[in-house]
């Protein structure tokens, strides 16, 4: 049997050149896209695109095995004719991997049908998302009219495509800011643009590549070559300082005096960061960024959070080595193209208070006990976004901070609370000295903004458990409780406090170590069926699964856990 240890899992959360090409095309209004593909490929691409964006028109040639084997030009021809009959502003044909294997003569079909403004994009098999996007971007330049008059003080925003996380809000905010200094956006290349705007892209005087670590740099260089449009991409407009610098740089290009506008924006920003809930929370906050499909966000967010609001970036996982080098200046743990397992281990090791990432990050971190998460990347599996919550620009900087504070502060805050009207007295319980000392040490590891109440909660929960077991509060009990109830996730740090012989604590760090069901700590009664289902849970997550299931049972008014309870909880988690 083949050794599977070296099998890397990152492909699961990394889209390919095919997605890149399709996403670059799908966002253009008035143009139709045909995916020359089997129906399975097509429906997956269509559905997954609609998870992240509002609406798009995508058509398919619906190829069967026979079509592929015998040549699918006729299917292409018939589909193209139907689409051409609708008279769209342009037609983009993206070929699927199967077609790329058999190398259909799509160009010949287009020539035969004679449809105008029809582009063919062949994403390379094994190519990256960026390569797919750039291939489509550059192909689209064939539609751009070079002989147009320039619009004074106008720019193109280069880079946003469908399924770029939060592109719509970023574009909206940057457009608002540019308008504030009298600069208009000629075309967003490509998401949300009309086909007419794409065709008139050469009317802009300046290109602004807003996601330079992800996509758009190739086409920007090409546009400079073909149409003489210079490009700015050196400043990522994330954070207050960089948003101001970005706008100032655009203003300087057009010789616009932006001082008054920038002063107003920065005065507002300063008032915001002076408020009670910003530095009090952010100064003791740690964050992990897992943004392989949004390297630009990884760079911009990490620099902003660290430099302007004092958040410590404990880990960054991304796919662009150049972006990684930049983040290394402020973060010791930078992973490039890490597997999901590697990322999960790093989450546990660094214990961030909040994680920015995609669906997989949310899932693995949640399984490992992390509660505070901010979606910032694809795949999302399901996420609704609009113009409202940008990460870029002045509004984006504010949203990043308010999102962080509101998610984490209230999350941690509520974790430290007991019941609205709980039991009035549970009686006095004695503490072993070692447990008291452990509590002091754990206290030092909890951020000040919740330390006092968090300790109170740990104290109460320890006594509750000790009462249930009819013992003093031992260091073992305190360890169990701190593992379960300490706000967010500080297990990595806790290991410094507890000696190895203070078990029974879950062996979360020992990934490969088998954790027998019998070694787990149960606070409710579990029947055999329920315990048996724990065998299906990977060892490192078993204790967390017990805790989560018991919480679920309590929330549903149950005093025990049966097989059906585990099943319900599993379904609720979408597993």
């Amino acid at each position: 049997m083949a050794d599977t240890k070296d099998f890397k899992m990152q492909e699961l959360h990394t889209p390919s050149a095919f997605e890149g090409a399709l996403w670059a095309c799908l966002g253009i209004k008035g143009a139709d896209t045909i995916f020359h593909s089997p129906p399975g490929c097509y429906i997956n691409q269509h559905v997954n695109a609609l998870v992240n964006d509002w609406t798009c028109e995508l058509y398919s040639t619906n190829l069967s095995y026979a079509h592929i084997m015998q040549g699918a030009e006729d299917r292409m021809e018939s589909t193209l004719k139907k689409i051409a009959a609708k008279k769209p502003g342009a037609i983009m044909i993206v070929t699927a991997p199967t077609v790329e294997v058999t190398r259909d003569d799509v160009e010949g079909v287009v020539k035969k049908v004679g449809s105008r403004d029809t582009l063919i994009i062949h994403p390379p098999i094994g190519g990256s998302l960026v390569e797919g996007k750039e291939a489509a971007f550059i192909k689209l330049l064939d539609l751009v009219d070079a002989n147009v008059e320039k619009i004074p003080k106008s720019v193109n925003i280069i880079g946003p495509t469908f399924s770029t996380f939060n592109w719509r809000a970023d574009v909206y905010e940057l457009t608002r800011m540019l308008a504030g200094i009298g600069v208009t956006v000629n075309c967003v290349y490509t998401a949300g643009a009309t086909i007419e705007q794409i065709k008139n892209a050469a009317r802009a005087e300046l290109n602004l590549c807003i996601y330079p670590f992800d996509s758009g740099m190739g086409v920007a260089r090409e546009m400079e070559k073909r149409f003489g449009i210079p490009c700015k991409a050196d400043i990522i407009p994330i954070g207050f300082g960089n948003s101001a610098a970005w706008l100032e740089s655009v203003a300087a290009f057009f010789k616009i005096d932006a001082k008054k506008y920038l002063k107003e924006c920065m005065a507002n920003a300063f008032e915001f960061i002076s408020s009670n809930m910003v530095f009090t929370v952010t100064f003791e906050m740690t964050a992990a960024l897992s943004l392989e499909n949004h390297n630009t966000y990884a760079v911009g967010i990490s620099e902003f959070l660290n430099k302007e609001v004092g958040v410590s970036i404990v880990m960054a996982a991304l796919s662009n080595p150049e972006a990684g080098s930049r983040i290394k200046k402020l973060c010791d743990n930078v992973l490039i193209n890490a597997t999901i397992e590697e990322k999960r281990d790093k989450f546990v090791e660094t214990g961030p208070m909040v994680i920015y990432g995609n669906f997989y990050d949310k899932k693995v971190s949640m399984d490992a006990g992390f509660k505070n998460f901010i979606f910032s990347d694809i795949p999302t599996i399901g996420y609704l976004s609009s113009e409202n919550c940008p990460f870029m620009g002045f509004m984006g900087a504010k949203y990043l901070v308010e999102g962080l504070v509101n998610e984490v502060y209230m999350g941690i805050f509520l974790e430290t609370k007991g019941e609205m009207m709980g039991p009035i007295s549970s009686g006095v319980v004695a503490w072993d000295m070692a447990a008291e000392q452990a509590m002091l040490k754990v206290g030092e590891m909890i951020p000040h903004f919740v330390r006092a109440t968090a300790l109170k909660k740990l104290h109460q929960e320890s006594e509750k458990l000790a009462q249930e077991r009819g013992t003093n509060v031992t260091v073992g009990i305190f360890r169990e409780v701190s593992d379960k109830f300490t706000p967010t996730k500080f297990k990595a740090k806790f290991s410094q406090v507890f000696d190895d012989d203070t078990a029974p604590a879950p062996a979360i760090d020992a990934e490969d170590e088998e954790v027998p069901i019998s070694s787990l700590t149960f606070t409710l009664s579990w029947d055999d069926a329920a315990k048996g289902m724990l065998e299906l849970v990977p060892s490192p997550f078993r204790q967390a699964a017990v805790s989560g299931t018991e919480d679920y049972a309590r929330e549903h008014g149950r005093s025990d856990v049966i097989g059906a309870t585990v099943e319900e909880f599993r379904k609720e988690l979408g597993m």
């Binding site: 001082k259 530095f279 009035i424 030092e444 109440t453 300790l455 109170k456």
Partner: protein, 411 residues
């Protein structure tokens, strides 16, 4: 007359929050709706459980005709629903203003519900400018419900500050456990263990706030009270423990202190070297009395410390003298209009203030610590942790970034 008031909240919240941390006790807020709302919301951040405030919602007719009947009924309602051992009526400004006969209500209730103990404390007007004394008043009310018990020979009692100390005094308590000196601490998370404080032969307050509590214990339950000093920082903790070791004639406790000093001294020296290099000027303004205690820790590190005290009781006077003589700490006891006036005068490296003062300080780009978040500050390890992480937690580079941004764009 100052233009603003920089304390965290009303003494009523302090009483409510402190009592809210003691199992077996239900605080009942006797006051009008705005008082209930504000104190309910304001105390939420520091109450661990039983998050809903029971109150009487005194209305206009109560003010005219008296709210005693409503109060009595609400005590009965609370008792029927939760069967607490003790209900403490927090008597706020309005009932004080109209001179309600709370004691009379309590006497009547004692006859009607013999199992229930009801006591009261005065907050609001009674401590218009010393929020932390809300705790002191609340503790007296709790002690009022205690019965006399036999003293434990050779025992001591440590009298803490707020409800936050309840369950968080292990850093001191463990020395006495190891030295085999019978020790009772107050407050604790449970009414039963709290009531045991009356068994101590001698009371040692560990903060400046519990002056009333100590006096009450001494007068009603016997036992001497001695304020040594607040056991914070390295020297403060050692002095406190050694003083008790001498009085208890405990070589074991002396030895423990020797060991601890040996352990933490190298860390302290590192911290002092860093503070000497950075020349820190700390302005400590009001707070839950930790402007004095945490101020003392900073002074030991070598910072130049300026303290605007939240109270001026007898224990404060003693601690102030210690801090002035030992570290040359400056105390600012005169009224001031705005915090900015003091910041301009002192030109601090960093300030420690209450939440509501933060916008004023950050907008001046003065590194700011929220004093309410620096509690349970007793013992050696707290000080070492505070000193080791002080510069990291101050985040001076962030302020410098903003200085640069505002200079460039802010005009």
């Amino acid at each position: 007359m100052p233009l603003k008031h920089y304390e965290h909240c009303c003494s009523t919240i302090q009483a409510l929050a402190s009592l809210g941390k003691i199992e077996g006790v239900i605080p009942l807020l006797h006051g009008p709706q705005p008082c209930s709302y504000q104190n309910q919301v304001g105390s939420m951040s520091c109450r661990p459980a039983n998050l809903v405030t029971a109150g009487t919602l005194v209305n206009k007719s109560d003010v005219i005709f008296g709210g005693e009947a409503g109060l009595k009924q609400q005590v009965k309602n609370l008792y029927e629903k939760y069967h607490p051992r003790v209900i403490v009526i927090i008597n706020t400004c309005i009932p004080q203003l109209i001179g309600e006969d709370i004691e009379g209500v309590i006497i009547e209730l004692k006859q009607e519900i013999p199992d229930l103990k009801v006591s009261t404390c005065l907050t609001g007007f009674n401590y218009p400018r010393s929020m932390p004394l809300g705790s002191d008043a609340a503790w007296v009310a709790v002690i009022d419900t205690s019965e006399k018990q036999a003293k434990v020979p050779g025992s001591i009692g440590l009298i803490g500050r707020t409800g936050q100390d309840a369950g968080n005094l292990a850093c001191l308590e463990m020395f006495f456990k190891k030295a085999e000196i019978p020790c009772f601490v107050f407050p604790t998370p449970h009414l039963d263990s709290m009531s045991s404080i009356v068994r101590a032969e001698k009371y040692y307050p560990i903060h400046i706030t519990p002056w009333l509590t100590c006096r009450h214990l001494s007068e009603h339950f016997d036992g001497d009270v001695e304020f040594i000093e607040i056991p914070v920082g390295i020297q403060g903790t050692s002095n406190f423990l050694r003083a008790i070791a001498e009085r208890q004639n405990s070589q074991k406790l002396h030895d423990l202190v020797d060991d601890e000093e040996k352990r933490v001294r190298p860390e302290l020296e590192k911290i002092r070297a860093r503070f000497a290099g950075e020349k820190v000027r700390m302005l400590m303004v009001d707070g839950p009395a930790n402007e004095v205690s945490v101020g003392k820790i900073f002074a030991e590190f070598g910072a130049e410390v300026f303290v605007v005290p939240s109270m001026k009781n007898k224990f404060y006077q003693q601690e102030k003298k210690i801090m002035q003589e030992r570290y040359g700490v400056t105390f600012i006891e005169e009224d001031f209009d705005l915090l900015g006036d003091i910041i301009d005068a002192v030109k601090p490296t960093a300030v420690s203030v209450e939440f509501q003062a933060q916008p004023e300080c950050v907008s001046r780009l003065v590194p700011t610590f929220i004093n309410m978040l620096y509690l349970c500050e007793y013992g050696y390890d707290y000080a070492i942790d505070l000193g080791t992480n002080f510069f990291k937690n101050m985040h001076r580079p962030v302020y410098e970034t903003w200085q640069g941004l505002m200079k460039k764009y802010g005009g």
